[in-house]
């Protein structure tokens, strides 16, 4: 369990995350939704120690995320930010091998190679592993980064808008992959999502943020409602029931 206690962050005078206290479960798929500027990405960055906190603490199964040795944290929690692209000319495999750093410090063991191969296969990259990152399409590159965090083999997997540069098919494939990972390996997946319908269909729990605070927190049945979504986004929504899923419409 990751326990967030009154996390606060402001930039200049602008309060971006306003005293958020939460418990993120140690299993299942949890999605964080909300309008632009709600503080979702900032919250995820603080939970994963990429960003310092102004106030508050993050406890990761008894480990203070902001004080514990970074490598210790990296064995339990992996984070992928949305804009992590690099100009470095390295191969897909080399990138994915970086994910093994917390376990091997660069001296890859047979177990590491197995984890790398498995992550590559899961992300449909087994044939592209010797390609340079700079030779890939945006979607392939995004999958390579996902493979890197998968290879890290952590209990908690945090992803900030992972669907951003993926087409419909690969976006759905990634969500299915994360769902499988959670169901079969017990990984706790926490994502920031823009597309509320992916959140609705694949999550166990949805946290909705607005103005730096959590305004809704519950199952998709509780959060994907016309009333709740209108409140979160400040715009009208229709929610339809399609094949047992709750699909929100906001196109008109």
């Amino acid at each position: 369990m990751i326990t967030l206690d009154s996390l606060t962050k402001s930039y200049d005078d602008h309060l971006v995350v306003d005293g958020v206290s939460l418990e993120l479960p140690s299993a299942g798929v949890t999605s964080i939704i909300g309008p632009n500027g709600a503080g979702k990405s900032t919250l995820l960055s603080m939970v994963s120690r990429l960003l310092g906190v102004d106030a508050g603490t993050v406890d990761l199964d008894g480990l203070d995320v902001h004080r514990a040795p970074s490598r210790e944290v990296a064995r339990r929690l992996a984070i992928l930010r949305q804009d992590s692209h690099t100009p470095a000319r390295i191969t897909v495999r080399e990138l994915v091998e970086l994910g093994r750093h917390p376990h091997s410090k660069g001296r890859l063991t047979p177990a590491c190679h197995a984890a790398v191969d498995a992550a590559l296969a899961r992300c449909d990259l087994a044939d592209l592993d010797r390609r340079g990152l700079h030779e890939l399409s945006g979607g392939q590159r995004q999958r390579a980064y996902v493979a890197m965090v998968l290879a890290q083999d952590t209990r908690y997997l945090l992803l900030d808008e992972p669907l951003n540069s993926l087409d419909l098919v690969h976006a759905t494939a990634l969500m299915q992959l994360l769902r499988t990972l959670s169901d079969e390996h017990g990984t706790s997946v926490v994502l920031v999502l823009h597309d509320i319908n992916y959140a609705s269909v694949h999550s166990d729990r949805i946290i909705a943020m607005r103005d730096g605070r959590v305004v809704r927190d519950g199952t998709p049945e509780e959060v994907i409602t016309e009333e709740a979504l209108s409140d979160v986004y400040g715009a009208p929504f229709r929610v339809h029931h399609l094949d047992g899923d709750r699909i929100a419409a906001y196109y008109r």
Binding site: L50, P87, T91, E94, L98
Partner: protein, 328 residues
Amino acid sequence: MTSLRGRTAAVTLGVAAAVVALLAVASLAVGAATLDWGAVLTDPEQLRLVTVSRIPRTAAVILAGAAMAVAGLIMQALTRNRYVAPTTAGTIDAAGLGVLVAVLLFAGASVMAKIGIALVFAFAGTALFLLLVERLRLREMIMVPLLGLVLGGIFRATTEMIAYRANLTQTVQVWMNGDFSGVIEGRYETLWLAGAAAAAAYLMAHHLTAAGMGREIATSVGLPYRATLAAGLGVASFATAVVVVTVGAIPFLGLIVPNVVTLLVGDNLRRALPVTALGGAALVLACDLIGRLVIHPYEIPVSSVVGVLGAGVLLALILRKGNRFARA
């Protein structure tokens, strides 16, 4: 394009090693005095020529070339900017200022003391560069080295002003222009420290590659980012300080060699670093040979030859069709 395959890297490494070996033999053979290979083992004069002059010079060229190229590679990886090198980040100029301070404050300072003080200055200068870069709002590819050049200019101007007042302008000229003509046995051995720095960088290669992916990815995989950055820049500053103190600054090297090498074998430092070291050694060997041959038996300083050649190569890199310099 399949240039990142391991085999390409192995072939490149082999070719680079062969070129260095050939140039090293040529470097041993060329000089003001005539060397008779057949007589080396029988004639003590000839043997002395080889052990006192030719071997030290060749070793010095190889070590300095390798170290400066590796320093550039490290700096480019850590700043994620292909224009950053000891020449364009103020490192060389800060080291020069350090040598001057050492000479002024500690008259008769030993070579090691000079290296120590030059190292402190080089590291502080580079750290200042990085701090300024972090504050840069418009962090475009070209803005970063531009800032470094301005900073280096300030260091150089300060050095020149102090040197002028202290009547040391000519002495400063000597450090700032790399030249191997003064290298004999007993006057180059500190360069082995620069070689050691390059070897240390190889041991850190994996960490440096990870840090080169940026702060967020490095932190995500549990790498102490700031410490790695400091260690990498420390090694690069150290190599630069040693070379500046021992033979003087060699321009362009840290800029062009790593760029050509990473174009061929990619940015994984474990693979790129040995090739870069050999490439730097080969380039300086070739330039030193040219410098020794064009007005034989006199010499042109190696920094002048590297400067002319380096400018040409850099232009070719920039104007190359579809080059990555064009992209921000």
